[in-house]
Subunit: 303 residues, 2 copies
Amino acid sequence: MTFRHVAIIGLGLLGGSIGLAIRQHLPGSATSGYDRDPATRRRAAERGLADRICETAAEAVSEADLVIFCVPPGAMGEAAAEIAGVLPAEALVSDVGSSKRMIAKVLSEALPGHAVIPAHPVAGTENSGPDAGFASLFHNRWCIITPPEQTNLVLLSRLVEFWEALGANVEIMDAEHHDLVLAVTSHLPHLIAYTIVGTASDLEQVTRSEVIKYSAGGFRDFTRIAASDPTMWRDVFLSNKDAVLEMLQRFTEDLTALQRAIRVGDGQALFDHFTRTRAIRRSIIEEGQDDARPDFGRSDHQA
Amino acid sequence: MTFRHVAIIGLGLLGGSIGLAIRQHLPGSATSGYDRDPATRRRAAERGLADRICETAAEAVSEADLVIFCVPPGAMGEAAAEIAGVLPAEALVSDVGSSKRMIAKVLSEALPGHAVIPAHPVAGTENSGPDAGFASLFHNRWCIITPPEQTNLVLLSRLVEFWEALGANVEIMDAEHHDLVLAVTSHLPHLIAYTIVGTASDLEQVTRSEVIKYSAGGFRDFTRIAASDPTMWRDVFLSNKDAVLEMLQRFTEDLTALQRAIRVGDGQALFDHFTRTRAIRRSIIEEGQDDARPDFGRSDHQA
């Protein structure tokens, strides 16, 4: 009941990881891959990110019964248009984008008559490009599938099984709720990290060399996610504008309250807030979504 | 030329790590330790965080030629007052606090006539208490020493050698500059992390369980530092108020600019900002202040 032939459009961190994970977990499924960058295609072929790396998107999808778009949100429409005439009628269309409402709309409009079921594996690293992918990226990570109304339930269950086979836990929700949840668990954290890294590098009283030297005091944790792919993140913010702006408004209110507590010297308010936030960390570790070792085990300092 | 007997006041992450590091790197130096919490003293004795765990601070410092206060900034004054009558006249007084101007003042006032040279090892984990310390915490981390004017240069060079023996790289700067540098590399990141974790747990449209499940999208990185010791961090913000508020003001301006770029759909401004922030990450890794493995190697996903 799994897919016979998966076409992967876009061979960066996500697309490459899907190709490698299929080879490991679904050896009965064929894969073909395409990326619009010739250097990425060459490297993808060397690493074997798909069984066949094609020179055109049309060639990659010609035998597919599942197409997964793994390109930045803003490139989905153009990528889908390239295969509009040639995609087999029965092929399911999906993606891995970090915002879902706009992508669902763009894919459906570009590929009318095709079943479109968007998905978002909540997994990644700060690296991008054809060297970044690895087969276990989705292990014990959540994949959120956002079926539109009137989705074919057989196709939906096949897509669920596909992601489960790759090691993910699957959750179904509507696209609007997805966009709100991810605005707070992913988009706002990235926006804040990008901001503070920019703030730190623009200071005139503190040199960049000092920022780098003393980053172990907390700053370095922000630089990791602020090193994520700029094109993808530009598109995420533009394609999930409303939810991001709403979460940002709430964050700013909360920050203003803590700022006031510092200004007036309200130690109790600070202490109460800082105590409350410890519990969430504990739950994240209990749920297996992070590593309990201090510093995530980096620098192996317990040795 | 090293210290003959080091007294450690406060046996949490920092104090415990100093005791263990002295045993490993300076076996010729004796150590004694005190913590005002009896349960911490018991656990410190079990782990051997110092050669001798004492029932009073006065007893711990009675033979010391170096006393290091490893208590939260707001507890420094009281801790110093406890040994004011009994500290040997020639003993050097130091500490490990994250803000330096106020602590320098408090320690000098509580221990008049003693040499006071504050220090701040920029090292730590999200854990606290007597079980958190380990001997290699300071390896390849920076220790900033902030000697007041007219510091005895012989004592200063002994303190430098002490921290270098524990594995740290030492930098000398004045307390005011320290407080500004740390406001951006450590205090502001912690404040922002505490804020966003609070924002996420207060949402009514997104459940706490969803925040936890999908935290791998970026949020979890913030929860680590927002799990740091609430008492210590309350004191840090109150004792470095001016510099923190200044950095916060700049951060807020920068965040407002990105917010506007999202609202008006200025993709170029977002892309340019996100590209600029990648370079800092690269420098931090080159300087050995973070782990280059994706996700810091947590979850060992490359296997």
